[in-house]
Amino acid sequence: MSELTEQGVRDEVRTWLEEHWDSNLSLREWRELLADSGWGCPVWPTEWYGRGLPVALEGVVGEEFRRVGAVGVPAGSGVWLAGATILEHGSDELKRRLLRPIITGEHMWCQLFSEPGSGSDLAGLTTRADADGDDFIVNGQKVWNTSAHHAKYGMLLARTNWDVPKHRGITYFAFEMDQPGVVVRPLRQMNGHASFNEVFITDARASAADVIGEVGQGWPVALATLAHERRLVGRLTGPRLAGEGRALDEYRAEQAKVMEPYKWYPQRAGRVDLVVKRAQETGRNTDPTVRQEIAKLLALARSSEWTSRRAGEARGRGRPPGPEGSLGKLCSSHIARAAAHVHTLISGADSMLSGDDGAEAGLIAEILLSVPGQSIAGGTDEIQRNIISERALGLPRGPAVDVGKPFRDVPKNLAK
């Protein structure tokens, strides 16, 4: 192996791709090669399907793949959430058994974290896993599970000990989805799409051999997954690849499946890009009130963009992260709401109509009905404000009534 310089790595991956990339392979065959060579997950250790590259050089590999239009490992929660978590916290036996099928795309994964009774307070979850010989019997309900209907495994958080405080009684399982007692149902959102699922678990089994980390020590493992989720948010979808060949066709089919739940996400963010064009086309740009609101929205969107650039620049200069880095999520909610308000002003009475009768063939209606999700998904605005005020401003936490006592004694939501 040549030296670990950018050029060295670039040359090496380029040579390897020249020798091996063949779009006529099946997608599975190609990804077996990725797993064997380590080029699929180059920052993973060499003994676990990677090449042990520093994170700083990962981008070079991605660039070379894109340059020749080669397919990478599957996008989505398999590699970047489950794989990364197993790599950090799983036993060698789990790594041997579970990592390779993730890379090859043989196994899709889903997250089984949130519950109807446990949203912002994830650690208050009440799905239970009761020991039964070498197995656990699992009962409970999970919600907002993207891809659960395709998944072979779920990253399951379940409570195994009710006599200790909430963070200490949780266990993290690799949970087999295809078994009796697991029912996956699509969950319809207020905008009409059904991008997620709910998962009902009744006397299903989880093996003790499938515990990631230790029994009762699942919370730090869950935090690791959530940290990966925040870091890798851009990787949950793959690049668009043109070209012909079996591997590419299969990749595009896979992408269509993975991307399907996200098709309304731009609308959820408010579609600021449509505002000026719509105002001009409808003539609403002559109304001074509308002009004021448009100007405010555009200013908010631009300042927000500049604020994240400032955060990025500070990171690039190796300066300690300032408060500007923690504001993006909250700001995106403000932008989405302001955009929905402006779209309403522009569309007027047409804001009442949807589908083909609605403005922009229903797109505006979809914006209006998707925006409320922006301030909830991925941490509500209220939770963001708590985080900002505590971490960026150093304000004290409120007194907690639940963390010091056995979870059994903590007030909970009553099941419906």
Binding site: E6, E63, R291, R309, L395, P399
Partner: protein, 453 residues
Amino acid sequence: MCRDCDLEIHPAIQMFVRLRVVADVERRLPIVLDREEGGGARTRQGSLTSIGSRCVIGLPSIAVSVRSLVSSAEAVALKFSFSDEQEEFRRVVRQFLEVNSPATEVRRLMETADGYDRALWRQLSEELALPAVHIPEEYGGQGFGFAELGIAIEEMGRALLCAPYFASIALASNAILCAATETRKKELLPGLASGETIATLAVCEPSGCWDSSGIALTATEKSGGFELDGVKTYVLDGHTANLIVVVARSPGTSGEAGLSFFTVPGDAPGLERRLLSTIDATRKQARLEFTGVRAELLGNLGEGAPALAKTLDLAAIALASEMVGGAQRVLESAVEYAKTRVQFGRPIGSFQAIKHKCADLLLEVELAKSAAYYAAAAVDEGDDDLPALASLAKAVASEAYRKAAAENIQIHGGVGFTWEDDAHLYFKRAKSSEVFLGDPTHHWELLAQRWGV
């Protein structure tokens, strides 16, 4: 190594790479940069890579302008970050003002008619050369950029410095730089840069319009000179300034036609100056009545409109910088108080009602900083979009400061409403700055126009 042309570019490009410049450069430069990834930056037509300490670029056309590349690159990077030197400059100014402009001094000076301390003005001019900071070297200045001016003014806003700096430097020196002939720049600017001349700018009239449409004061040619007749008001430090830059119009003209800049000495015969009673006592304003006042032309007769527009844009950006300094200070004050004030057996900052207010303020203040910094850097860069950016920064900063100053009082509760607490001093500056140079409604409309809505 370079794959296309073996052309090696010197350390300038290394800096370029270090600065991690991305999309904003695209419009202006022959090289089109793509997203920076890993250790290098890619161009669309070629590739720019840093290999160890050597940087090589694969573009035949690169020979063009390394110099402009570097200066643009710096400017772009500074829209989102300050250099170590600029951070050091900020630290020095802040320290100076913490020592020399504490709240006790602000309170002492705001009760005086002059509203500033001559000794401190001299010190600030001689020791730190602050009035000279952005004035070009050929006019006796330090030759730094608008970004540095922004830093100085931001710190002054933070300290509520009582001094004619905004009037003399943010307003008058920029008016002279924008409007004056070369001869008059050489004549006037060195005095402003050294702090010896204290100047101000008189634009607004009792109509309250902050653009050319509001200018009625006339400049009549008489015996080889000009005489001014009319009224200017909201003139910062107008009662003490020894040089007044006046925007006037030729008789019989309207709108943007017939506008010119003039200068008048503070003690000119026929000029009546009256100190106005202002809600913000830390910033003095005067009403100036001109009756046949002899004035000297600053630029070209009747061609003042573009210079006026530019001057007002620069003033708006400077004011935005000042406002974010004050807004940051009141946010800190609110957070500090919330951590120490105990009610119901716990610090009030542990209640979500207060925490969430503070988080929202932080967001507002950071957005306003981003807008002010971006606009200030845009001045140095010669960005064509400057008018829009100026209005954006002014409006965003006005809203942020107003909210932050009001919430600071709210979080302080009863004591926040007392004269004894400093919260009201910032509230008054925020309120005054919100409308000075045009309120947010005015600037939102300008932004809409300037961005072609």
